[in-house]
Structures are given as C-alpha cells and as structure tokens.
C-alpha cells in the first residue's frame, strides 16, 4: 500500500517523506524536486566498506547505517537519500530520523553539526552550546519568551558562506522540553504532547521561528557548575576551538564519513571569527530566568539584543 507523501523544509533543504515527521510540514507541495528523499524499504544489514563499524552504526564516506533497536534501521547516502526500514511506530521512526539520522545527512553535505540551540538577534545568530543535559533547550525557551526567534533546538548546522563567514542554518520549528523545565517556565499548559511514549519530555510551542540562514555572531558554551552563581567569561581562541570541537554533534560518525579535515577547517574558521563565551550555570537548580537575564545583558553589550518590533521601532 502506498503512503501519502509529506513535504518539509529543514536546514535549507526541501524534504519529501512517506513518514510524518514531528514538526510542521511545508504549507504546500513544492514545484521543485526535493533535496532530500526519504523512502521506506529494506535497508542492508551492513555497509560494504565501512570506515568505522560499531554494533549500532557504521559509516563510510558517502553512507551511514544505523540500527535503532525496536524502532528502525536507517541508511543515509550521498547527503540526499534516507532509506528507512521501520519496525516500530511511525512516530518513533520520525523522532530518531530528525536526530542522529538527519545529522549524518548534514555531515555528508559538509555541514558542521554542533550540539547547540540557536536564536536570532539583531547582530546575528547566537548559539548555545553544550552536551546533553547542559540546558540548551531550556535557555532557548527562555530566550524565546524574551522575544528572540528560534533557529534551532538541539542541533545547529553551520556552513561557511562564500565569504568564509560561519552561517547558522535554520533547523525545524520544533522544540522539546522536559516536564521540570516546562514547570520552571510556567509552560505546563502549552505542550503539544509527549516527544515519545514513556518520556517526561514534551513538544513545546514555537512562536517565533526564523526560517532562513543567519551569520553567527556569538556562541555561549553552557557548563553546569557547583554553586549558585552564574559567570560568563570570554574564551581565548584556542579554548574556543576546543569547545567547538567538543560540542560537535556525533563527532565519531562524522570522522567515519571522512569529513575530519573539512570539519577542522570550519571549526578553526569559526573559532577565529566568532567570540565564544563559557557560561557557568548552577547545576541544580538551573535558575533559568536568571541565566537568560545574564545572557541578555551580555548580548546587549554586544549590540545583539532582541529583534522585536519594539526594539526595531526604538532603534
């Protein structure tokens, strides 16, 4: 039985999928051919010549294969095709597709995948870097409350533009928050359902979304630290480079794709051009609103305050 096709736009790519993905589809089917084609079918058990092979995933220069136990097996090739062999619900298949699987596709296209959320400011895109649990999504939500449009939640794709400037790609209009973060933000009644059955993690509304790329003007690396204080300090270029390398999303998969040298160059360019700050935030409780206030203050010092009608009118 053939499935209805859905059309989406993410990271600047037109996508066609027989599986509904967990974010809003494009308003109408595009006239042009999609950049990314998702198909359902039998995926191979292994790659012919993997560079890195683990028991969960394997990768080669133009192919990435991952098996998510109980959900699906995915094959990503040439930065264009995603073949899915589902064994779980379509919902779960979509959740993993827009995470690890889509990151591999971006890497195949030479996009630097950073573990970061991103917002729009008057001076450009601002990235909030950090590993799982660092508070990227909570801070993104708090910054949206302060009038900033969202560019990306969990994974920010960065490309060097024709002038060699790092540019953040607009991801997809979906934001995911844990129940406790929703409580802290007072958003308990605004959720759009759980991300997955059995998880206390919810889809949260996105009110302002920027759908086009934007030059990166600053990056903040979130680190949970002892104590209740919030500190923001500028990093030396070499430290900035280390932070950006460390916060590369699925770095090992990327190495298996043979993208290591290109990735190094792009990260070095970014560390050279973009000021990177280390943010020490209280580990527990996170003090999300105080943190957002501090970040806002730091942004204002850089002329990167909120882009909002009021701000534009008074500016």
């Amino acid at each position: 039985m053939s499935r209805a096709l859905h059309h989406y736009m993410a990271y600047g790519l037109r996508m066609r999928s027989p599986i509904a993905l967990p974010f809003a589809p494009s308003p109408s089917a595009p006239d042009q051919e999609p950049d990314v084609v998702i198909r359902v079918g039998a995926a191979p058990a292994a790659l012919p010549a993997p560079v890195i092979k683990t028991k969960v995933w394997e990768s080669a220069p133009s192919a990435f294969l991952i098996n998510v136990d109980g959900v699906a097996r995915y094959l990503v090739t040439e930065g264009r095709d995603i073949l899915v062999e589902p064994c779980g619900s379509d919902h779960d298949v979509g959740v993993f597709l827009i995470g690890s699987v889509f990151a591999a596709l971006l890497q195949q296209r030479g996009v630097v995948t950073l573990h970061a959320s991103a917002i729009e400011t008057r001076a450009g895109a601002v990235l909030f870097l950090g590993s799982s649990g660092a508070g990227k999504s909570s801070l993104l939500a708090a910054m949206q409350q302060r009038g900033h449009a969202m560019l990306a939640d969990d994974v920010t794709g960065v490309l060097l533009d024709s002038g060699g400037r790092p540019t953040a790609l607009s991801a997809f209009p979906a934001m995911r928050l844990w129940a406790d973060a929703l409580d802290e933000l007072g958003w308990q009644h605004r959720t759009r359902g759980r991300v997955r059955k059995g998880l206390e993690k919810y889809l949260a509304p996105v009110e302002r979304f920027r759908a086009t790329p934007l030059a990166v003007c600053a990056a903040y690396m979130l680190t949970p630290s002892p104590g209740s204080g919030i500190e923001i300090e500028a990093c030396a270029r070499s430290t900035a480079f280390e932070h950006l390398l460390k916060c590369t999303y699925r770095k090992r998969c990327m190495h298996g794709l043979g993208q290591r040298p290109a990735h190094f160059r792009a990260v070095a360019a970014m560390a050279g051009q973009v000021p990177v700050f280390r943010v020490k935030r209280p580990a527990h409780p996170m003090r999300i609103n105080a943190l957002a206030d501090e970040i806002e203050r730091s942004l204002c010092q850089r002329g990167a305050e909120t882009v909002s009608p009021a701000a534009v009118a008074s500016g």
């Binding site: 995470g99 590993s131 508070g135 909570s138 129940a179 998969c253």
Partner: protein, 292 residues
Amino acid sequence: MSIFWLASYPKSGNTWLRAVLTNYLHEAGGPASINALIGWCAASVRFTFDEFLGLPSSDMTREEIMRHRPLLHEALAEAMPPPAFVKVHEACVHTPSGAALFPKAATAGVIYLVRNPLDVAVSYAHQRQQTIDDTVTFMNHSTATLGGVRPSLSTFLPIPLLTWSGHASSWLDQGELPVHVTRYEDLLANPRAAFGAIVRFAGLDWDAARLGEAIGHAAFPRLRAQEEEIGFEEKQPPAPSFFRAGVAGSWRTALRPRQVRALVDAHGPVMERFGYLRDAESFLAGEGAAGA
C-alpha cells in the same frame, strides 16, 4: 583492548584510588591535577553514550538506555588505549533483556573498593546534603538509582545502585569477571601494600619508589588543598566540598544507635564478610548497656 572497572558504592575511596593511579602513571614530576584524573566515569555519562552509540539518550526511555549500555561498554573498551580504567558506581546487574551490563568481552578486570557502610552513611549524607536517616533509607533501598532523576539537567545516565550490600554482592558474587577487592580501611592503614596489590592486579609495571611518591602526592590533605585552590570539576552538587575527612570510624560519633541498627539489620552478612560487623555490634551492645 579491555577495561579495568574501578567499581564501588559512592564515597568508598574511588576518587582517591584514581588519584594514586594517576600519580603512579604521571610522567611529569610533582602531583597531578585533581581535574585530570585517569579513570573518569566515561561509561556513566550521556555524552559518551550519545557519541559512541550514535543514539540520543535524551529521547530514550530508561529501559532502552539500559538495553544499550553493554554495547557502550564494548565500544569504549575498543576505543580506549591501555591502561584503560573507568570508574563506575553501577551495580553489576543485567539489562532488561538479560545481558550482562558489564560484558566479559569489554572487561580486563574489576577493582572493587568496599568501605564500612556506617562510614559511607556519614560521608554520603554530607555529599547528598541529606539527613543520615534519609541516606540510610537510600542505602537500604533495593531499587536505588543515581543520575537521570531530573533528566533535563542531568549529564549522567541512570545508574542502578541497589542496596549497599546488594551492590557489593553484585560485583563479588557474579563469577564471570576477575575481581580484586580492597577495603578502604586497608588503603588507609597500609597504603603501600593495598595500593601495591591493585597496581599488580592491573598489570602495571612495578616500581615501589614510584608508588610511594604517588601515595604521597595523593595524600588526603593534598587533595583537599587542591580542591580549595582550583576546585574539583567532578564534584556533584549539592555538597560544598568533595574531599572531606578521609578517615575511618567517624560513624562512632556521627551515627545514632538506631541508624547503626538499621544498617546492620539490612547488611549484616556482607558487613561480617568484610569485618565491619563486630564493631557495630559491640557499639550497639555498649549503647544498650549505657541506656539500661
């Protein structure tokens, strides 16, 4: 390669052991930084799970994460150059699908540290900033778990602990992995012999003078001074400091008889196995006599 698991219940000398091993293997002269200790808990953090398995732990249920952890341990074993030490507070349990959490294929050996649970209760209450009663209840709880409790802001995976004695038995009675067990009290009383035996078990080149230096560099006052000076990045909130007393026997003044009784009732056989029971019982008899 395969991994030597530095396994222990929390507050049982694991970080101290790591400091001694780090200084033993440290090439430069002088004490190694407490923020660059070998044997980091790589197997227990979400970052390594996500990176090595290519899977988003934050989109997975606890059960799914547990099912995948043996694969993480195998991938880590493959990636780490020797000598590979990894600290774990996890009990040696099986996953929901019945696989060993610590696969034989990924394991070179287990260095298990055990400490008198009466002292663990005192130290652990300080770290958790909870009452001793609450901590005793936690140590007696058969499904006690660390990390992943507030998953939005935890960098740790869920860590199954079991009870204090359940933890010890899970490692010592599993029969699959080679285990070297050391009492914290013996590390204190005779560090050269106790750490020396660990160095030999791990197959490191033997150098008695070097071990003496390493033990000196990792002496408790020195670790505490470093923490005061530069902070200990691995310290988990909410405790004000990580390196606290580093002594044995503080339970005698810190615990009430009913707290000692609760721990003895729950863990008597394992306490006896490690020589902790007699002191506890004579304490209780003395208190009983004093009260009579």
